[in-house]
Symmetry: C3
Subunit: 330 residues, 3 copies
């Protein structure tokens, strides 16, 4: 079993891992898989994901093998073509060889934001999953960030209890100096829907997520006792939420229209999450790294309703819980 969008484990499986993560955080000893190896292929930079994966490997007795193609390793070719250009190694061989060296293969590869069709195919993680003979863990792809979704779920469970059905969560778009991929908001949507939460997705006009993904999340939510609704009024969307998740992303309709998108983005600087918008008692979450003063006001980020450091800390405990499970069964 690979772990590409987190739904592979189902609502119960994710909930079990989130609860196991909270046990580990409380001091439970990790199950060991001494001598196992986990290869991590990073096509993009990372602080939390790389560090927490390495630390989680250490906690279960596995050895992390970290590879940065194009930096310390060869640049990878993804397409089926005659390789007479710059890229030295095809993903077929890279995946097959790393499968010889490791028990699990973890891959990070962001969206390019050039072509909606290309990013929708999630080409790098899909290719590693196809050509690898060991299970693949997605460390953030063009579409998904399931380890973030798992850490978020653990954070929700910690604050709102294990039965998340009907809990009110708002995922709000936020301003940012750059156009960003939608893997994190897609994942928040999907992870919340998987647990049957009542999700409000708030964004300005033009900053919609991929309608196929919103539809899939809505179906998943409603079958689990929850719902997904969309709003273009941030203040209203946040009112009454038990937890607010902020994130900037590039609108799905904006693919290939970067200049126009930048102008539109600049028009919505008032979507910064400020304390006057934050509902009383509601938690504030963001996957980090976060632009202070742009995405969120410092008084929210550093304030008592901010769960961001706990959320990032849960990246470690959830990664341990996931490795325990995947190495036991691999």
């Amino acid at each position: 079993m690979s772990f590409v969008d987190g739904t592979e484990l189902g609502q119960d499986g994710i909930l079990a891992l989130a609860q196991r993560a909270l046990e580990l955080r409380a001091g439970s000893k990790a199950h060991r898989s001494d001598g196992a190896r986990v290869a991590g292929v990073f096509l993009n930079p990372s602080l939390r994901t790389k560090t927490s994966l390495e630390a989680a490997c250490g906690a279960v007795g596995a050895q992390p093998l970290m590879i940065m193609p194009g930096k310390d390793a060869w640049a990878l070719e993804l397409e089926d073509k005659v390789m007479d250009g710059d890229k030295a190694e095809h993903i077929r061989e890279a995946a097959a060889v790393l499968s010889e060296f490791a028990d699990l293969l973890a891959v990070r590869a962001f969206a390019k934001l050039e072509s909606a069709e290309e990013d929708r195919a999630d080409p790098v993680v899909s290719a590693f999953d196809r050509y690898s003979s060991v299970p693949v863990i997605n460390l953030e792809s063009a579409l998904w960030h399931p380890l973030q979704g798992l850490a978020d779920t653990a954070t929700w469970v910690n604050h709102l209890g294990p039965d998340l059905r009907g809990k009110r969560i708002t995922l709000t778009w936020a301003p940012h100096p750059k156009a960003l991929p939608a893997a994190v908001p897609n994942q928040v949507l999907l992870s919340a829907a998987l647990q049957g939460m009542d999700v409000t997705l708030a964004h300005p006009e033009g900053f919609d997520l991929d309608p196929q993904i919103v539809e899939r999340a809505a179906a998943m939510a409603s079958s689990g006792g929850g719902s997904v609704r969309t709003s273009q009024n941030q203040r209203e969307a946040m009112a009454g939420a038990e937890v607010v998740v902020a994130k900037s992303w590039s609108g799905f309709a904006g693919y290939g229209r970067r200049d126009e998108e930048a102008v539109q983005r600049a028009e919505h600087r008032d979507w910064t999450v400020t304390s006057d918008k934050l509902p009383k008692g509601g938690g504030f979450m963001h996957c980090l790294p976060v632009r202070r003063g742009v995405v969120v006001a410092p008084e929210v980020l550093d304030g008592p309703q901010s769960w961001v450091v706990e959320e990032a800390g849960n990246r470690l405990w959830t990664a341990i819980a996931l490795l325990e499970r995947m190495l036991e069964t691999s």
Copy 2:
């Protein structure tokens, strides 16, 4: 004892390591040298070599200390000169200091392909070996790639049996978009000669290997019951081979004549290894990374006669076998 071209261990010693590697692959437990440390200095990128070395360290309980001078560490000066230029650290101090920190020192430094005399001196690995007070492992130098040769030997033993004398191997030049160093073909030649194989070296006119190295291999082969012959007819050279190893390289005569060499290289696109040239039942090997459709046709690379993934996998088991031996005796 350092491990610079692989002949330091002799024909028997290499065969013993190859057989030990196959035992490890079959499930034998690695001998531990807990608390040992192996420093790896990478002046060039690497996927298989770095990852397999790190994994092999883990398997024997040693700690890998990986250094990329010019990236995460200081750029190294090799020459005896007044250091008033860009390079911050002399290889004398780097080697001496790493010898204080580690039990073994492993080094990767490719040929520059500028001067035949410079590359023939194998300056980086030689300097590390001279200034280090611990044994040095060559992770691919200007001239040699002994860990590749060891993995290849293990692959030959697995398919052809431990007595490799008189087994027919063809090492064929192949097209490539770039001029490449000859460390790998030099090593295949030497490793096959060491085991007394019958080696056919095939390449177009102008793509000869260093005649000193070919002569040395021929003498070594004949003293072990084998032979080395050269051919400029690829199809004929491959006919009847039990194993074909493909690799592109820059002709020895082409040093310092890059433009001319590029033209010549482009004239031999018909040296791509295709299924119609591959002898029936013969294995296909390549050290990877490989240019699909240029060096070798996809149907060969992905076909049933391809041993490339096994060959790369053997990088791990042979590295463990070598570390077992070098740490026991260091």
Copy 3:
């Protein structure tokens, strides 16, 4: 307790660690803190510091988590500002999150040499110390390099005995092709003063260290039975010294005057440490990397009075001693 300039442990504490390091070097087994984690954040390149920290982690059973912001991790913002520029992550979150993942946080961040006021505030290490919830180890900051000071102290103790009061040490400026930060000379001064040594600080006119730091060291030395004096005559300053430490640095008065400083620096090429200046029987030390033939003549560096390789080797044993202490009490 953080370890920012090394004085946090006091004269006795540093001496105890230096002696423990020499025991470890002689074969004493390191105390284990299995399962601990040490995050290392490197904003500048490193050979000895990174490698010795990783090796020291291994020796005590801790896992090193190495991060290079701007290379494999996000570029860090230090200032309190609206983050609408290039930097993706604020040091507040980076420090808080790494504190969730690790038991100790080690940070390397050189002086920028642009503004004396900025470097005097030691902004990066100070910020990590402020925002981290675990102890911080300084791996060389704008002002200090306490692990180097500790290794130097161990080297002094090894050659001169544990009672360093009144021992004669000369810290001499040396030529260099580039303007360099003063963290190392500041630290040598402070570490020698802490042990009550008689320190002579020698440099050409214009290459003074920060007067606040010289004053602090002088007060510390005199309260411990030692002294600090300054000289502009290198030969005289070195005569009779039991140990000479060479290092180039940019004069404190030279901040923001790079071109002028380069001219002045070039005028003092005769400050190269040569064998005729080295006092009979006195040791020669340098933190490395060192410019051969510029800072010091090869005959000194490679000669019998050179302690540089031992000094660098002591980086490992002192790092183990420090981790033993900090992980026991963290």
